[in-house]
Amino acid sequence: MSTADWTLRSFAEPPPALAAARTEPAWVRVTLIGVALCFLGTFLILPLAAVFVHALQEGWDVYVASITEPYALAAIRLTLLVAAICVPLNAAFGLAAAWAITRFEFRSKGVLVSLIDLPFAVSPVISGLIFVLLFGLQGLLGPWLREHDVKIIFAVPGIVLATLFVTFPFVARELIPLMEEQGADEETAAVSLGASGWQTFWRVTLPNVRFGLLYGMVLLNARAMGEFGAVSVVSGHIRGQTNTMPLHVEILYNEYQTAAAFAVASLLAGLAVVTLILKRLIEWRAGRRGGVV
């Protein structure tokens, strides 16, 4: 078998004469594949491998100790709690927004769609800053909150709010184009046959969009668990109380506890790998391909 054999097969395999018009000489193909694989290897595979190698550099015992010490466990619990609040809230919002936008005509719809996308254009640091300006001690509502002894900034509610902000568009962005494409025919038929609004939603809409919804939620969950910039501004970094996993990684790293930092980081990298696998599975089941988040 010649070395060029596996590069020869082009995607669709048209008749030989036409195929020649759509392929390059073997050396070009091999060079381009080489460049692409070197690039992906250096920028993606090497870092991913490095996380796990560094996590285990001081042995299995140190690894286990690093992820089971009380502060690490508290960080894991907080991260799971924040995701458990943000994923359903923003998923419900995404469903409502997609229903309103794709099933009805109203003025300034384009503006609404742009506003939903807005958080993607905002730097994570600014996403945290706005909540400090609103709820911090010097903030707009700061004095009132202090009087009533409510803590939002440097506490869990602030972390949840900042995470809600940065993960706001994920599900809506996924569902709006999908439901637009599917159209309202099936739902209109259900309603005209006497189904109630809720019945139509549960029996028709939800089954139709389940993969899109799941896809958005998987990505939303990854971002909610991994968010760093926005959360670091509002958290106050109180160990055991307001430290999420990414913030815990930062603290350990800055204290030169490299193996421990990478041990906790390896859990997040594992989450990333699981996310990628789930994403692929959903794309495969739904027969669709991925797009820009």
């Binding site: 690039f39 090497l46 991913l48 939903i116 994570p124 600014i126 911090g136 139509t200 990628l276």
Partner: protein
Amino acid sequence: MTLARVRPRRSALPGFGPTLGLTLLHLSLIVLIPLGALVWKSSTLSAEEFFAAVTSPRVLAAYRLSFGTALAAAGANALFGLIVAWVLVRYRFPGHAVADALVDLPFALPTAVAGITLTALLAKNGWIGSWLEPLGIQVAYTPLGITVALIFIGLPFVVRSVQPVLQDLDAELEEAAASLGASRWQTFRRVLLPAILPALTTGFALAFARGVGEYGSVVFISGNMPMKTEIAPLLIVTRLEQYEYAAATAIALVMLMISLALLLAINGLQAWANRRQAA
């Protein structure tokens, strides 16, 4: 494609009021009111104070660094992202499926993890850094390191923008070019590149916009030296930690305005790309 899809102006479906109400409520509480606080806070500054806060040498250096490195990274991604997208669409090779899935890693990997890992790899004693050290190339704690982190973050934007367009390209165009005597390179430059240019530009702009605001992956590798390797988002955090809320807000507002301008440009680009594809 069907002819015009008829959609009644008044839909027969229920639930418009509650769903739109919930959408607007959630949008206002989580996005609009908090962003309004940014505008409110900067309005407490006089024009001179605002101007002074956003034009001090340290702030200007931070803006230059953020925009410069984001631009360089987006440029590198436009080139390598195009090659990666091309290879993934046009060729089959061992590891193809894994390579395709891995392109999304930067979307899924928390930025702090990317930050400490790239720093560890590129530091003087790291896997890559120890190779570059004898050559006199220092990457970690320099603007080059920031650029590397931003290349990592921005890669999927370019690949995932270009990939679907490459997949949908009409084979007949290329065959026609070849049958009229064009070389492969001429076909690429005159036929393929113009067709993918809108998508490539969109990917470039998305990567650039993300790079300008990026914090987590950069803050570890940058070294954070004022005037040298201090990015604009870090400067906002520094001002906040010094309780200079107004100064932090002013810097943030300028960044936000530039991001919004970029967002508008990206929307325009995407409309252009869609028209191209539809044509």
